[in-house]
Symmetry: C2
Subunit: 341 residues, 2 copies
């Protein structure tokens, strides 16, 4: 391929410079999130585990990093017309918040079946909710209509250089906080987070391994990696509602070339990981955010050839926005907890 002949820094959508620029740009608006650890979980996994708590990030997820980097990169004239997104969930809340910080309108197209707490987050941060049907076609067409009417610019949740560069700042911080990390495990959906994290980490230390963690019920990235091309699924079925997107043309090359492998886990493993986060780490994580821990505890991960070389594993807990009632039913329906008396 022609791309292969170019320098690494030109081959992928972002690089260490765009990520460092993002870090400076977004610093006034985002939290430097803490890292927690637990000897109980170290014992359970047989490795030293470090958890980067992006659930404590503004908006409850890492998404504010990419959204802030994108929105604060806009020229004033463009910014004044506002921004739009048709991705529901944490990206929507992040775009609302970042737009509010810049003082511009945010139009958020949300499917009618979105979790209530995520809709509430959007409203709390001042986003204007515009409802669509749940199909991607409906969401895209409603968003296009908003763009035509307002001149607002679309802020893509993952397939965009500025978004990827913003998400990559997680890696910079994490490796500053815990320099001995030799392996990073990252939830994968559209691939924005893992692309930024991988490009930053590999630039700092090419020996660092990055694994993606993905629900079995939305295993498009795992299938893509095997097939050598982007695979989309006709439907997805997982409790990890934030991990149902498919890779884009800017994120796929990073996953294809630089991500070690994709570990897939089922919903039972994900819920068990959520429960460990609550009960052992004392951290509120949504199912999509806990998939990295689920992957590290899976048999599939232990069978990796590089398992014995891994000493210190960094796990990104990517978000914490969860309806307590939904979570509770997930835990109880799987008999992880006894019914309350």
């Amino acid at each position: 391929m022609e791309e292969e002949k170019q320098l690494d820094s030109q081959k992928y959508a972002a690089d260490i410079n765009s990520i460092k620029e993002a870090q400076v740009r977004i610093a006034p608006y985002v939290h430097r999130t803490p890292v927690v650890s637990s000897t109980s979980l170290d014992s359970l996994s047989g490795k030293r585990l470090f958890f980067k708590c992006e659930c404590f990030q503004k908006g409850g997820a890492f998404k504010i990093r990419g959204a802030t980097n994108s929105i604060f990169s806009l020229e004033d004239e463009q910014a004044a017309k506002g921004v739009v997104t048709h991705s529901s969930g944490n990206h929507a809340a992040a775009v609302s918040l970042a737009a509010k910080l810049r003082g511009i309108p945010a139009y958020i197209v949300i499917p009618k079946n979105a979790p209530i707490c995520k809709v509430e987050n959007v409203k709390r941060y001042g986003g204007q909710v515009i409802w669509s049907d749940s199909t991607i076609q409906s969401r895209e067409s409603v968003a296009s209509k908003v763009q035509e009417e307002t001149g607002a610019i679309l802020i893509h949740p993952f397939n965009d250089k500025r978004t990827i560069s913003g998400q990559g700042t997680v890696s910079l911080e994490f490796l500053e906080q815990i320099p001995e990390i030799d392996t990073i495990v990252v939830p994968i959906s559209g691939g924005g987070l893992i692309s930024g994290v991988t490009l930053a980490a590999k630039s700092i230390n090419p020996a660092i391994r990055v694994f993606a963690a993905e629900p079995k019920g939305a295993d498009d990235a795992a299938r893509s990696k095997v097939a050598g091309r982007i695979i989309m699924l006709p439907k997805t079925n997982t409790i990890a509602d934030g991990l149902r997107a498919f890779l884009g043309d800017l994120t796929w090359p990073v996953v294809r070339d630089l991500v070690e492998d994709i570990i897939t886990v089922d919903d039972t493993e994900i819920v068990e990981a959520v429960k460990l986060c609550f009960e052992v780490l004392k951290v509120v994580v949504e199912p999509s955010g806990a998939v990295g821990l689920a992957a590290v505890l899976s048999d599939q991960f232990k069978q990796k050839r590089s398992w014995n070389e891994m000493k210190s594993i960094g796990i990104i807990l990517s978000g914490g926005n969860v309806d307590l009632s939904v979570l509770w039913e997930s835990l109880r329906s799987r008999s992880f907890v006894a019914a309350a008396v």
Copy 2:
């Protein structure tokens, strides 16, 4: 009183030196816990709030600080005979863990009605559970019997210089992390935490105000402060099961002289604070650990004369050990969350 004529450093059970010594002694064994903040909670309170997350501490609560300081202060010969405590809950888990770290036996007298998750914590950390009835008489007599039979030394949960000095390290860290804090709000039970925290904070900056937060259903400290002497209650009734102890002769002088005031909150306010910690901070806090936030959000606190002078308030989230099923029922029975579909 004769005491009044002595120097401050001789008047109270601990001082900045014993607390700094504790910090060095316990450093290899405890976490430096992170501080989190939330603009949503800042807006809600009208102040800048900083949350010291002792729920992420080893053993899930600040108690390991005092337990480690006490147990690692013992001479080898004494230590070899082991340690005993009749306080159930987080102190019991902390003593178990600290004893395990030193490689000595821990005998933990636990009343039969203790929460399951706290008993499990004790067992997980290798403590030997010895059951008693729920009365304090039964607990003390069982503990005395263990002491006689084994020669183990009692590790008091709060009324002890080494325990107080260990808990005071929370303050040292907190003020290193957030130097602009002008007010600290601390849960109060037996007074070990607030004594250490107050002595350290006042020594670093005498202008810092320290408030205690206490459940209305166990408001012995508030009554003591008004009466000018230690008041004990015939019974207590609160969801904050870790805050039912009464002040001791070593903790009372600090509360009497140096603690600004005691803010009391009812169980509904405590549960609402727990929910805010979960949903906004994404931190799992037990009811006893959330009472500081409940106090800061209460009308009683806003009516304090010094309210207008407070800018940056440090709140200690003191523990995170909670049965999810019990918590869920607390939330649901108070209609804070809709029943799951």
